[in-house]
Symmetry: C2
């Protein structure tokens, strides 16, 4: 049985998230998702939705077997605990795969790194990022 | 096999939606969800997320077997087609159950009307309505 880990912020859920998680789930038989804590989101604005609520919503999605909040200090702690066979990166996640592989090796975590495929973000009929949903709310609902 | 119908707008998904749908699913063996089209949402502001994307996101939730967009003119058309044993109303949906039962009877639809239970909307750790999520976005992201 291959265990797969996916990870991300998952702030306002959209079909890009579902696509990523479906793709990740198809890489194995059991999908665990690690949800970044707000305090650890440093490369973009902090999420709108509270940590535990984001975890709860990801856990409610069909492809997901278990959803976990990340560790406040050490991102490798939950990965060590889950002990995955595969880490599935999102198509747009800015991780250097070689550095990640090296860091996993230093921690004694032996797993394969794979990339999920992309949905077409420019699909005019869908809001395929949390940022686009927020932009629409600001455009339509600000006084 | 009891077929259950739930319905709503499902704009920005939150744990209140998941609770409603889990409750509805537990009333039978197969849960169908009817998602209101934007043009038919008249009792509150129109949804932010496009119709088909809202349908897609509801379909991705574990309790849901099938998600359908509503009919543009006649709300009873999908109910006739699905032919449910139970219609599960959300705890806060403003439907007069007796009038709804009478209207279903006139259309020859014989089903039971039940109410889902409530989650505590005032839970300080969760944003349990689309409106609260939007308010937080406006408060945190408006310039």
């Amino acid at each position: 049985m291959r265990r797969v880990v996916a990870q991300g912020t998952f702030d306002l859920l959209h079909p890009g998230h579902v696509h990523y998680l479906s793709d990740a789930a198809a890489m194995g038989e059991e999908l665990h998702v690690i949800i970044a804590r707000s305090g650890n989101v440093t490369h973009k604005e902090p999420p709108v939705v509270p940590d535990e609520q984001r975890r709860e919503m990801v856990a409610a999605l069909k492809p997901v077997d278990e959803a976990h909040l990340g560790h406040p200090e050490d991102i490798f702690v939950p990965i060590e605990r889950i002990d995955p066979d595969i880490i599935a990166l999102g198509y747009d996640q800015h991780h250097d795969e070689q550095r990640l592989q090296a860091a996993l090796g230093e921690r004694g975590i032996d797993c394969e790194i794979r990339r999920a495929s992309a949905l077409d973000r420019n699909d005019p009929d869908r809001l395929l990022s949390t940022g686009r949903i927020i932009d629409r709310i600001l455009a339509e609902r600000s006084d």
